[in-house]
Subunit: 783 residues, 2 copies
């Protein structure tokens, strides 16, 4: 086959993809234009984004040529994911679409259904989405394509991620930062990313930044990012095919050479990775002008270039001309199937980017080899008698997980430079921080093959991890609690992906996304107010109950049990909140496992209501609240021994909800038995108090819930003072408990006075000495 | 004065700042080391970040020299804001600190207090914070320094923002994207930013990316960002002073030349702005080694290099040696005051960066000239009879505001390329999109002096606006509702700043940060599930009630009234949610103003309970929920005329809370009179239902609240189908209302059947026709 033939077929594929893209946006009938187009064939609501689509189709077609020629194992990531019809069109041309959705056959009838379903009620979304075969990337929210690409290729040395980045997307913070991902990519043991920066010049209405700086300045920028850019610019198809094929071959040759060298000689220094800049008109091959106004190459091509058919019947003819310009009769046979010589351009079977198993990661997912977490159990002979740093203990377990799965290379830990700060540094017994940039002699556990990924960007940690999980591996993300809000919106998109993917039969479950939020609100006393925000939990519970889990283990053993559980789970987002500071330990390991299994329960060893009705329930969730609640109980038992207090601890926050609201929700009968139906409940909570009300407002006893939590009061102060400022401390909790029990309300004045005195004593002490009173610093609850 | 003298004094200033920084971190007594240092002088809790501090002090000292020499009007933005003690030290040396905090005098006693208060209970935070004179930038969460710098200098042609960017911070998404801010800076009418990228090599524990790429690659990156970088690298103070002074002079000369040219000839093309790369050791001038381990120049210098004094008494001597290495006796006189020849280095009065009025923007704030919003009122003869696009009407008003304040140049509108999409394009009648990058003939309203700032980065919009407001101007940020979560964490920090700043006497109120969230969850039917998230409201209400306001105007006239109110307000974050699609109008302008003033109320014109007790209350908040609620009422009145329905609309969401929870909260008596104490309330809400429960759970009638809202169900479908998927539609609302009223529960079976039939009819219609049933598309409620 000559080069000319090659490009003719390539061009035919591109025209076919463009034709099918336009068809999806516009048509509900007459898919092959066998009859003259009429208004009745056109959808009543026209939705979709044409502008970016022909460029995506162009890249996809060229990738197919390269995959076939080089037997590449590649996936396609469409940063401009609004171009959904384009990616769907290619997966349909490859046959994958009909394999996973048999009702969308490779014939005229299937094509009609393909067109009809797009952006249609009961059909498929307008963006690249979980429904799209071959995708690990939702195209709705922009900014995360390059991160997903890198996440996919870490530890996948044979994989190439072709990542198209829109020039709109390139303006986002996450994308701008993610170029530096190449300082974390090891050519010896990781795969490669081929970024294709697609300059089509416009966003919805305005020009893009990168399309409006000189080529030389752009080239400097990309070289500064560590890339060697190859430019492909123009609009004339034949010339563009030649340029693109040459650039792609050059880039793939260089990637091959980089990898071959690293694999022969071992990693020596960070290479300069190739990339492509593709400058093509927005809405390329679409209408040049509509109603006398330029469209192709302008922002007007962004969405649907031709509209208003009922009012402007001449537009029907323009649409037909446009579609016929792709010469569908040359592309599809009489039955509506893609002609075999064009179809032959597609790679075979799992080499098709739409059928690559990496993009349906659950297919490749292997269970983690799980070491026994009980080995790291803290011995707790008597509740409160032992001290431990919960995250440090969890770090030992994570180290074992890392070691046990070292050979499988399917587990990574992410964190914004906080692994040591968060006391997970046992991991460095067996691995290092990842870096393929310069490493100096004095660096602490930094290596090109490290498996702890630290970068001061929560966006990068999150995006890499998503890509890693979606391609069938496992991971763990530890983060300062307050700053996890930086990825609120990324979490949203991942949770939405999981919610949709669960209902797609051919998508296999992937490992859960596990967060450990530590350096939390109650122990950011030293960094102060800016570092105090427990609101990620509120954000998380807005998403579908099927995919979110929230755990607040009160000590090291419960944390061990929770981490073990989360690492084994699938298709969830697990949020764990735990402290890193030394604290008292409450449960021996078997009690901890039992407690975590039920999610919430009465701590009888801390209660004195002996199966009778208590006067008051002291509930707690979170490590510091648990300590303060138990210290309050201690005070009460000493000063008001006749007060019957029941202690309830909640480790699985979702257990508070009703079973119809969350799969972990406990039935009303169980809940009522624990929290009573009529006794006051003083609830010491880690986060904003309203969350407890939100989770329990349908429960019988809700009106008696009095929640103490973070009230957005804080500064640089002492740990105990933080609880006082927010009235979560033992003295406020004890005082509240007494005040809520009628029979003590008037008789316990001396106790209330004592509690007020203790608060005044604290205030005086802390303001003078700058540290907590010795009896508070002790942090120990004694039964 | 010779250059040598110059640098000697400069070095003395630097040593003084370093001395005071170390003192703040360590000492509670013996501030001038008049006696031998002992354990009793050292704070019991050592908190602070030494590592970045000497570099900040170095830059500050050099800026002072330049300000004095060139009579600059400059502010200092400390990206590595953890170096709080450094910035505080400089403001103290300048005298400003003692002016605003008279108890911290410029003598030994004041110095002792200065040291004592740092990171001490009741004292000041460890980071640069609202308490720090001269700062507009909280240094806790990293990433936003450069954005604040640009925001400050827009429309401040005389102002220079010296912005130190840490190499840790530089890894964040927001910072990485914000380099391109220079494509939005006009040298003719804006001031200048001098970025100083501070490479000190390490974050908490790991190396930084930008410190570990070759200088030439870094220079390419910075040139690619549009800068000309000047490198200052080393550690020997005398040499570093010479290099820094030369680089600073060079950069300031270039800035002057750029501005002079643009101001003489008008803006011609985007210049290449200078910047400085400062490479100095982390913890510079601090302990070289501690316990045999290198500290200076390593990650170990990040926080407190010397600790454990009680266990290692020899560390006391090391600390004393360290502090004496700055030769305090040469710096401070017998009384503890800075020696006059050193003090003379500081600029005078308001030229001091710590006293620059731009950094206390309320001092400069002028009211916006407000045009009459009633001019744009939609005529509403009968509720529901008129149609309008709410945001389009608001756009006309914003246009007038823009025009009226054109001369004052103190109002900008931000948005991620969505001004037209969000129907605010009337603004382009009077201004354009800002760009100083290349502009092409076909561009739509793009100009270097435009005042609408569009960039596809919510981070940039938010950060610029914060900087603009904090320096005493006004602004408005319109955003797709779902993607405002991208700046959740930035909102947190701004809300926290406002909460703290309100209580600082010398800080003057600034204009509120106004969000218009549109293209909202109910009308993202075309973009689908990824674009549907109304949860920003939940996030916002976690912050202090004093600073947050949430408005859900149901139509154009209420939106006009709300926008007018928000633009006049101070020190708040105002969140407005409003639709852009055509919708029915309910209130004439005077009714709208009255309704917005009270915040919530009974719509008697839509109710049929005529001052008697209703059978059911139909409440609503948000434009689509209001429409559906009224349509449900219409159905009920036609089919069950004997059912007494009261309609309540809520425009000010915070009015639902109790007065003790929010200043806008309505008293229980008023709330109960409106919502009753015992009748079912069917509440149609814009966002997640739990928010209404959260705001009302203390109200008497709460158990009767049945909230319909977004349940995280959505896809690409029709507008009405979105409400059906989430059971917010008229049929579900009407059915719920009947089911909750005992006397109709069993007798209204025919109505319930009719409502179910309508839902089935809808489902069948929409799935076949891909659009809403004609009677639904009509969207009109008829009384």
């Amino acid at each position: 086959m000559t080069e000319r033939d090659d490009f003719a077929l390539l061009d035919a594929w591109w025209r076919a993809a463009n034709y099918l893209s336009v068809g999806q946006i516009y048509l509900m009938d007459n898919p092959l234009l066998r009859e003259k187009l009429s208004l009745s064939h056109i959808k009543p609501r026209l939705l979709g984004h044409w502008g970016t689509t022909p460029g995506l189709n162009f890249v996809y077609a060229h990738m197919n040529r390269a995959i076939a020629a080089r037997e590449l194992d590649a996936i396609f990531i469409a940063g401009p994911g609004h171009g959904g019809p384009g990616v769907v069109a290619n997966t349909y041309l490859e046959g994958t679409y009909s394999e996973v959705y048999p009702d969308i056959g490779r014939n005229a009838d299937g094509m009609k259904r393909l067109f009809m379903q797009f952006s249609f009620p009961g059909g498929i979304p307008s963006h690249v989405a979980p429904e799209t075969p071959g995708s690990i990337h939702e195209g709705g929210e922009l900014g995360y394509s390059l991160l997903h690409a890198y996440g996919a290729v870490f530890d996948n040395p044979g994989l190439l991620a072709c990542c198209v980045i829109g020039d709109g997307e390139a303006e986002t913070g996450a994308l701008a930062a993610s170029w530096h991902s190449n300082k974390f990519l090891n050519p010896e043991s990781d795969g490669a990313v081929l970024p294709i920066l697609h300059l089509n010049g416009y966003k919805i209405a305005g020009p893009t930044v990168l399309a409006r700086i000189p080529d030389e300045e752009l080239a400097q920028l990309l070289r500064g990012y560590g890339h060697e850019p190859y430019f492909v610019a123009g609009h004339e198809p034949a010339q563009m095919h030649r340029l693109m094929a040459a650039a792609l071959d050059k880039a793939l040759d260089e990637i091959h050479a980089i990898q071959a060298s690293a694999r022969e000689h071992g990693f020596r220094e960070r290479p300069r990775w190739p990339m492509i800049v593709l400058r093509s008109p927005k809405g390329w091959t679409g209408p040049r002008q509509v109603d006398g106004v330029p469209v192709e190459g302008t922002f007007r091509a962004h969405q649907v270039p031709l509209t208003g058919f009922s009012g402007k019947p001449e537009h029907v003819g323009l649409l037909e001309d446009w579609m016929r310009s792709y010469r569908p009769e040359e592309l599809f046979d009489a039955a509506g199937a893609l002609r075999p010589e064009i179809a032959a351009l597609a790679p075979k079977a799992a080499k098709r980017m739409s059928a690559n198993p990496h993009a349906n990661g659950g297919l490749l997912l292997r269970d983690l080899a799980m070491p026994p977490f009980r080995e790291h159990a803290v011995e707790v002979a008597v509740p409160g008698a032992a001290d431990a740093q919960a995250t440090r203990v969890a770090g030992l377990f994570l180290r074992d997980v890392m070691r046990r799965n070292e050979a499988a290379r399917n587990f990574r830990v992410m964190g914004p430079d906080e692994t040591t700060s968060n006391r997970l540094d046992a991991l460095f017994d067996v691995t290092a921080r990842t870096s393929t940039a310069e490493i100096l002699a004095g660096d602490d556990h930094v290596a090109p093959d490290g498996r702890v990924m630290e970068v001061l960007s929560e966006h990068l940690c999150q995006g890499w991890l998503e890509g890693y999980l979606l391609t069938g591996r496992h991971g763990f993300f530890s983060c300062y609690e307050a700053f996890i809000h930086i990825i609120d919106s990324m979490f949203n998109q991942h949770a939405k992906w999981l919610k949709v993917a669960r209902c797609i039969g051919w998508r296999r479950p992937i490992a859960s996304l596990n967060y450990l939020l530590t350096s939390h609100v109650w122990r950011q006393d030293h960094n102060g107010f800016s570092h105090q925000d427990p609101g990620f939990l509120d954000h998380v519970v807005n998403k579908k109950a099927e995919v979110v889990r929230v755990y607040l283990p009160p000590d090291a053993n419960t944390l061990l049990s929770v981490v073990d559980h989360c690492l084994r789970s699938r298709n969830y987002v697990n949020v764990i909140v735990a402290g890193k500071q030394p604290g008292p330990q409450w449960l021996d390991i078997e009690s901890a496992v039992r407690h975590c299994t039920v999610g919430l329960g009465i701590w009888t060893w801390a209660s004195n209501d002996e199966d009778a009705a208590p006067d008051v329930v002291m509930a707690c969730a979170g490590d510091v609240p648990t300590l303060e609640a138990l210290a309050a109980v201690d005070l009460l038992r000493k000063m008001l021994p006749e007060l019957k207090v029941r202690v309830v601890n909640v480790v699985d926050l979702m257990a508070l909800q009703s079973p119809d609201a969350h799969p972990h929700g406990r039935p009303d009968a169980v809940f009522d038995a624990i929290f009573t139906t009529d006794r006051p409940v003083i609830f010491a909570f880690h986060g904003y108090p309203s969350l407890i009300h939100r989770l329990t407002y349908k429960r019988a006893n809700h009106d008696n819930f009095h929640v103490h939590g973070y009230c957005e009061e804080g500064t640089t102060t002492t740990p105990f003072d933080m609880t006082v400022l927010n009235r979560l401390d033992r003295f406020h909790l004890a005082a509240d408990a007494i005040a809520r029990v009628e029979r003590f309300r008037n008789s316990a004045g001396h106790v209330q006075q004592h509690l007020r005195d203790k608060l005044l004593e604290h205030r005086a002490y802390v303001n003078v000495h700058g540290k907590d009173m010795p009896e508070i610093e002790d942090w120990r609850w004694t039964n």
